[in-house]
């Protein structure tokens, strides 16, 4: 078996999450990924970002950073000073030999440094040039910077969770950035497929904003057709009581997740409140909608009467009912389902020993994934890349280093 992107060479000029995670995905799929970092600023800002959003301490042993690590597994790092003519020339020579160039740098900076698509395609007509901007390259904010938070804010995502009395809520998982990375990887592979058929490279483009809108496709697209204000979902007044989450006696939550109205009688019976089936307040879908507050409070009381494990056994007896325990992120580490499907894996890290990592999310029956390796130190592969890839002599490398073209 071989990996789908065996032999594909990617040059990455990216920071933070969207561009770098796309690089991780392409490398998981077998590509060779070389990232260009700015020597004057100590490389990617996340190398030294101890508290992201001030919350989680990302400091790891060996003066390494968890944020940087998870976004850069197994890449090679070179520090080319793109403001230096020779540094830029080294980058262009690398891109000339590459199949893919990915970047999430602001368009005006890209143009100023001459790494825009028009300049590069002359040097490499087969190049896939994949760019992620904050807001899309057109429009009044085409040149502005942004990130996961601006994507969440602009796209409506922050009003997606919580009830009407909540302020807008920031989602800590990084949906826009992670979606952006996934879409960027998707666009790269789509363009590689097109190149197999046409022989030509091309530019592909997406943005943090398009990604943030995409991951809420259900809300955004339904709203466009229905043309109504999009409601938040208040669990206290859940209009479909079988699509709501409840607190159990042991303070654990369980989510009922069925949208099939016809399940109501069997559900009510299963949770040991068969009298509700004949209760005039809850007879029809419309009745249950109308009296949702009353029904939710009855069900709250009912679920609070037993620990979650008991409810799981009870609900598990009906194979057609959808429900699930509400876990916290750290619970994933001990989740047998996650383990069995290898969504999290152990990897050997040269500095930390055995650590846990999130695996590539798609299983292929006939294609291999590349095994995860440590993120590179800053400029770790300067010498190797300059000599082996670009054919520089040791003297030339030394000259590039001393002139400041390479850091």
């Amino acid at each position: 078996m071989e990996a789908p992107l065996d032999g594909i060479r990617v040059v990455e000029w990216s920071m933070y999450a969207t561009g770098p995670l796309c690089g991780v995905m392409l490398r998981d799929l077998g590509a060779e990924v070389i990232r260009i970092e700015d020597p004057s600023r100590g490389g990617d800002p996340t190398r030294n970002m101890r508290y992201v959003a001030g919350i989680t301490d990302c400091q790891m042993p060996g003066d390494r950073n968890a944020f940087f690590e998870v976004m850069n597994w197994g890449k090679r790092s070179v520090t080319f000073n793109l403001k230096h003519p020779q540094g830029r020339e080294m980058a262009v020579r690398l891109i000339e030999k590459a199949d893919v160039f990915t970047l999430n740098i602001r368009p005006p900076v890209v143009r100023k440094l001459g790494l825009d698509y028009e300049s590069l395609r002359e040097r490499n007509p087969r190049l896939i040039y994949a760019t992620a901007s904050a807001y899309g390259e057109e429009g009044p904010q085409g040149d502005r910077s942004g990130n996961d938070f601006t994507g969440q804010a602009r796209s409506g995502l922050m009003f997606g969770a919580g009830s009407d009395d909540h302020p807008p809520l920031y989602h800590l998982g990084g949906f826009p950035d992670m979606t952006g990375a996934t879409l960027l990887a998707h666009s790269v592979i789509s363009a590689l497929y097109a190149r197999e058929r046409s022989g030509e490279g091309q530019k592909v483009e997406m943005s943090n904003l398009s990604a943030a809108m995409w991951i809420q496709y259900w809300a955004v697209s339904n709203q466009l057709l229905l043309d109504i204000p999009w409601p938040r979902q208040d669990r206290q007044h859940a209009k479909q009581p079988m699509f709501n989450h409840y607190l159990c006696a042991d303070d654990e939550w369980i989510a009922m997740a069925t949208v099939k109205d016809e399940k109501w009688p069997s559900f009510a019976t299963l949770v040991e409140r068969p009298e509700l089936v004949d209760d005039a307040r809850f007879k029809t879908v419309e009745d249950r909608k109308e009296n949702s507050a009353a029904l939710v409070s009855i069900l709250e009381e009912q679920f609070a009467s037993k620990p979650r494990a008991d409810w799981e056994i009870i609900l598990g007896s009906d194979e057609s009912l959808e429900w699930q325990r509400v876990q916290r992120l750290p619970d994933l580490q001990n989740d047998p389902q996650v383990e069995a499907n290898e969504y999290l894996i152990n990897m050997e890290h040269p500095v930390w020993g055995t650590v846990r990592a999130q695996n590539y999310p798609i299983k292929f029956s006939e294609s291999e994934l590349r095994s995860r390796e440590a993120a590179p130190d800053l400029g770790e592969h300067n010498f190797e890349v300059l000599t082996e890839e670009l054919g520089c002599s040791s003297d030339e490398v030394a000259e590039l280093m001393s002139s400041g073209a390479v850091g």
Partner: protein, 408 residues
């Protein structure tokens, strides 16, 4: 004229609700021909008749149509085949024989019972890309169990993402696990098509709703896997970094500040007219600001309340190093000039609804146009066309099948 990227690629889709169908939409946006198999005994896919999903939004549209079905099935062709009849299954297999991709999100036990599992399908078409999707993955104690976006959000830790400590877990109405799953399916299928160009081999791919829920929190899951701490929620009254937080302005509108770097602090104080805070020892460096974030948020809350949002936007724009953004609602997007300038929302002529705004495919390709959005098919709209043109059946054979309930 350049062709769409997946021009000539044939997809047979047997899926319901969102995760499978939206993957089909993505492939069709890229140019594939997507044939959707629906069950004639139930009048087609469940979503066609699902008026209230989570009970809040009524998806009913003019002409007896359904908005949720529409957005999950743009431009596909619908063929009604009763897969429980041997003849119906055989017709499905003949379609699959001529296809590049088979896409399903039915549960494995159902797929096996019907006889459309990977082993059976690849016997008929060894080059097929078989895309399966499940709620919890093909292995483990929950394999084969039913689930959906909600179960994905619950199991993956996502519901503890937004909100503050005293809040209950919160459900996200955008359906990120389903949509994320669709996106991974489309990505995985494209990857397998590319691999097939190079190796000549078809294969099976698998994506789950749970795996997608985890993937789209990769930042959080990845870091939590390494640092091993309990994972905090982010309370806007007590953020770790007051410049990565959102504030209500004088007109009741919200503004998000999205700045991560220490050097953003003096720049922010200067444009906001808060120079005195730069000298304040409670906020002297990023660690101090982290310790005293609660006080800082109170100060900034009061400050932002003194002007409407538009004023603050103008003020913050003066320093290009600062990232900020208005906090919009989903319904604001249709009027957002940035969204419209980039064609993230476009307009189509719909035969039933007239001029209709639709959300576009989220990426653009220089050399490959996207396929034009077309309405979702009526149930069985293309049964005759597909059985005659694709499978070469005579009108008599087709009406016989229709009469026998094999096709519909």
């Amino acid at each position: 004229m350049a062709k769409p990227l997946l021009d000539g690629v044939k997809v047979v889709e047997w899926s319901i609700y969102v995760m499978g169908p939206l993957a089909g939409v993505m492939l069709r946006d890229l140019g594939a021909d997507v044939i959707k198999i629906e069950d004639p005994s139930t009048g087609g896919e469940t979503l066609r008749g699902l008026r209230y999903t989570n009970g809040t939004v009524d998806a009913q549209m003019p002409g007896g149509r359904n908005a949720s079905f529409e957005i999950s099935n743009w431009g596909k062709r619908s063929v009604g085949l009763n897969l429980k009849s041997p003849e119906g299954l055989e017709l499905a297999m003949q379609l699959i024989e001529k296809a590049d991709v088979f896409l399903t999100n039915f549960r494995e036990p159902v797929v096996e019972r019907i006889g459309l599992d990977y082993e059976a399908v690849r016997k008929r078409n060894p080059q097929i890309i078989y895309a399966g999707s499940s709620a919890f993955g093909p292995e483990g104690p929950l394999a084969g169990r039913p689930g959906n976006d909600y179960t994905g959000q619950a199991r993956s830790g996502m519901m503890w993402g937004p909100g503050k400590d005293e809040d209950p877990p919160l459900y996200h109405t955008g359906a990120p696990c389903d949509i994320g799953g669709s996106t991974l399916l489309s990505h995985g299928i494209t990857t397998a098509l590319y691999a097939r160009e190079r190796t000549g081999k078809g294969q099976m791919i698998d994506v789950s709703n749970l795996g997608a829920g985890m993937w789209f929190q990769y930042w959080a899951v990845g870091i939590n896997s390494l640092v091993g701490q309990s994972w905090p929620r982010m309370d806007r009254r007590k953020p770790g970094n007051a410049l990565w937080n959102h504030y209500p302005c004088g007109d009741g509108q919200w503004l998000a500040l999205a700045n991560l770097l220490p050097e953003n602090w003096p720049a922010f104080c200067r444009v906001m007219g808060l120079d005195h805070l730069m000298e304040d020892e409670r906020f002297v460096d990023i660690d101090a600001r982290r310790r005293n974030a609660e006080e800082l948020v109170e100060l900034l809350d009061a400050h932002f309340m003194t002007r409407p949002r538009a004023d603050w936007e103008e003020i913050l724009l003066r320093d290009p190093s600062l990232a900020f953004e208005r906090v919009q609602r989903v319904e604001d997007l249709a009027h957002d000039e940035q969204v419209l300038a980039n064609d993230y929302i476009t307009e189509i002529d719909h035969p039933v609804y007239g001029k209709t705004r639709v959300q576009n495919f989220p990426m653009t390709f220089e050399k490959n146009p996207l396929a034009e959005r077309q309405p979702a098919p009526d149930f069985g709209e293309h049964t005759f066309e597909i059985l005659s043109e694709e499978l070469g059946l005579s009108p008599e054979q087709i009406s016989e099948y229709m009469g026998a309930g094999v096709a519909g």
